[in-house]
Symmetry: C2
Subunit: 241 residues, 2 copies
DNA sequence: GCAAAAGTGTTTTTACTACACCCATGC
DNA sequence: GCATGGGTGTAGTAAAAACACTTTTGC
């Protein structure tokens, strides 16, 4: 049984045949954060029965690249962004998850800064759009299942590793950071307590700058520095929220 | 490129050809706990260049079963035990991880109660043995990498879900439970504080029984009941250690 | 002055830690 | 009696939660 190797990517069958692995794909949950809402990047299905329906961006794995490299390549093709946080979720492989044959997919999730970075959805043949996490429609195949798993993983990770910053602009206020945590974890937090808890970690770098053009007292801007985090980690610090 | 579909399992090539998926395998980290030590089940490699070396048990995925089912089947074939805790880790897919061709493997880890359950290592062609986690030798392919990942996952999970019980006899003492946590997490704990913290959760079922034939005061026996946990969870309880 | 968010101070409650100490059992 | 692990009590410390309050800025 040979499966036509196009379903999301716009590359041609001929270019793919033989150069990629059989029966294994990658699907990627790309998270963004804008105006207080967590969002995910969806693409419209190009061909086949499910044409017009939305799904997660995905593609095939080349024979000479690792699965991490494949995920990174696909992500870069779709969004044009580099240096994003990318991590594997796990493999999804129910026998009937893909109608045209037995295909196992390896799920990934990525966190991207949306500041300025307009996604270049036009790179592939498919249309792409950001969708608020609470408004995600029914997706093709088992993509809702993959998305839910990605959300759980994000909720779990964000409390144990300082990865939330990957969704914020490089300079951000403490309130933005708190709202990000509130949105991801689905909880309400106390502003004063959040400030103290985060500042006590000495993890944030004071940018000696303030917000501009806001109709209230301007907040200090901070940034996250991975070197600072590494230094603290070596001193025995463990991030936990 | 066709890869001979035998490397750990003793099944014949002929029986496998066509019935299983290409280029995707499963490898399973099976944890046990005995005499205060965490152990892992290793099998001796049957054929090929690496003959005689040790590795993780693994096998192929049939075209009509899910990957979870495949892992469960392989686990049952090797150990004979059922109703074990089994969870996927992730996919491992460096291009050169498997010398005879491009094969992606999906890692699983299992927790088994060793009480009485002698493993039936003879079921497959390979020899099998339990190995203390601190004495694991160099393994074939990337199996040490998979094992390390499994250990990290176990350490992470055991603090957030009550899964440690799957490694203990169905009736156990609080000290046994504490030693299990000490061994898995690699820390020393305070006995009185451990007792209180665990008992306060109201998660353990008092078996109204005591140890016998011990040369010290006999300890109460407890058991873990999944229904009790579910009930507590519904009431808003979240396990955390 | 008012609204809106920034930022500080303080009190209360809760959880964690580190011990000291008594209990039961086999040898 | 003593070694071994079972089990309880308690004081001190640190963290988390709740909430009142002051500050800055644009309109």
């Amino acid at each position: 049984m040979t499966i036509k190797k196009t379903f999301i990517s716009g590359e041609t069958d001929e270019a793919l045949e033989g150069s990629v692995m059989d029966s294994i794909t990658i699907d990627c949950v790309i998270f963004g954060f804008e105006e207080g809402s967590l969002e995910v990047l969806l693409v419209r299905h190009g061909r086949g029965i499910r044409e017009g329906e939305w799904g997660l961006p995905g593609g095939w794995i080349r024979r000479d690249e690792s699965i991490d490299e494949a995920a990174y390549r696909l992500l870069n093709d779709l969004t044009g962004v580099k240096n994003v946080y990318l991590e594997q979720l796990k493999a999804f492989g129910d026998p009937d998850r893909f109608p045209a044959g037995r295909v196992i997919t390896i799920g990934y999730y990525a966190l991207v800064k949306k500041e300025g970075n307009r996604i270049k959805a036009g790179f592939t043949a498919s249309e792409a759009r950001w969708c608020k996490i609470k408004e995600v429609p029914g997706l093709i195949y088992d993509h809702n299942k993959i998305l839910n798993y990605a959300l759980e993983q994000l909720q779990s990770r964000v409390r144990k590793e300082p990865i939330g910053f990957n969704l914020l602009p490089s300079k951000f206020t403490l309130l933005q950071l708190m709202q990000l945590y509130e949105e991801i974890l689905g909880v309400q937090m106390d502003k004063p307590n959040f400030r103290r808890k985060f500042l006590k970690m000495k993890l944030l770098v004071d940018q000696k700058e303030k917000q501009k053009d806001v109709s209230h007292r301007a907040a200090k801007l901070y940034s996250f520095d991975d070197d600072v985090y590494k230094r603290l980690t070596q001193q025995g610090f463990t991030f936990e929220f």
